[in-house]
């Protein structure tokens, strides 16, 4: 196989990758799952992220609320808040360094209900990527 032309084509096709945003590729507990109170949440990313400029939080979804929109609206309201440790379900403390995954420890004994895992990542192209996922605790 003559690799060079194929490589050149792929490099050309992959150029937008530099501008593509980082994505969360795996989550535990999985989105939409209902689990016994977990001790942590783990996230994997499509590329290495700078943890210094990234935010990870877990919040309980207020009773009576459900769905992606409610979770997204909560995320957008609180993701940049400081001093909100009491309201959060996680015990994550800011870190430094590059990583393609992160583990977010949770407070012990989460009550049954819906929880929103929320993140704000800094993409390689400098654009922030905010997202969220919901899991349930039984």
């Amino acid at each position: 196989m003559n690799i060079k032309p194929a490589l050149a084509l792929l490099i050309a096709l992959s150029l937008p990758l530099a501008a593509a945003h980082t994505a969360v590729t795996d989550l535990q507990p999985a989105a939409g799952s209902v689990v016994k109170a977990p001790s942590s949440v783990t996230l994997r990313f499509s590329e290495s992220v700078n943890l210094r400029y990234s935010i990870f939080k877990v919040y309980p979804l207020p009773a009576g609320q459900s769905g992606q929109r409610a979770a997204a609206e909560l995320t957008r309201r609180v993701i940049a808040l400081r001093g909100d440790e009491a309201a959060r379900a996680d015990r994550y403390r800011p870190r430094t360094g590059q990583s393609q995954g992160v583990t977010v420890p949770l407070k012990p004994g989460l009550k049954p209900g819906q929880y929103v895992v929320m993140w704000r990542l800094m993409s390689a192209d400098g654009h922030p990527v905010t997202g969220q996922s919901v899991f349930g605790v039984r």
Binding site: I3, K4, A6, L7, L10, I11, L13, S14, L15, P16, L17, A20, A23, A30, A31, G32, S46, G67, Q68, R69, A72, R76, R120, H127, P128, V129, T130, G131, S133, V134
Partner: protein, 136 residues
């Protein structure tokens, strides 16, 4: 070199994740928060970013309407008019929520006119979306 090729092959889908649709000199890069499809029975965040002749333009530079039709656009059907706001992460993008109940194919229609006359030609861009099963 083979390792480089393998790595690029693995990363290629990520590069092509957002679909770009053009009308004349206007291009729209569409995005949804449900793997480029639509959830059923729950809200999906749908957004776009506009470029004119290759340059990104701010949402306020376009008097845009984002519509969602079940199936193909038809004058017999009232589309869902998606209420737009500036992108949360990207102020150059616009986004809004939409909720569909039935699985199947839907068509996003982005219709726009320039806020300032002559900035670009009025356009109408269509983008087909399918519902995704088990998308949280």
């Amino acid at each position: 070199m083979k390792r480089t090729l393998s790595l690029l092959l693995a990363l290629l889908p990520a590069a092509a994740a957002h679909e770009v649709v053009s009308y004349g000199t206007v291009s729209a890069e569409f995005h949804t928060d449900a793997g480029e499809g639509l959830r059923t029975g729950d809200d999906t965040l749908v957004g776009y970013r506009l470029t004119v002749a290759g340059k990104v333009i701010a949402p306020e530079a376009c008097r845009c309407q984002l519509l969602l039709y079940p199936g193909k656009p038809s004058a017999r059907v009232m589309p869902h008019v998606i209420e737009l706001s500036p992108g949360f992460d990207d102020p150059q993008a616009a986004e809004g929520w939409v909720k569909v109940e039935a699985p199947g194919t839907y068509t996003l229609v982005l219709a726009g006119k320039p806020a300032h006359p002559g900035a670009f030609d009025p356009f109408r861009i269509e983008h087909v979306l399918n519902t995704k099963e088990n998308t949280p």
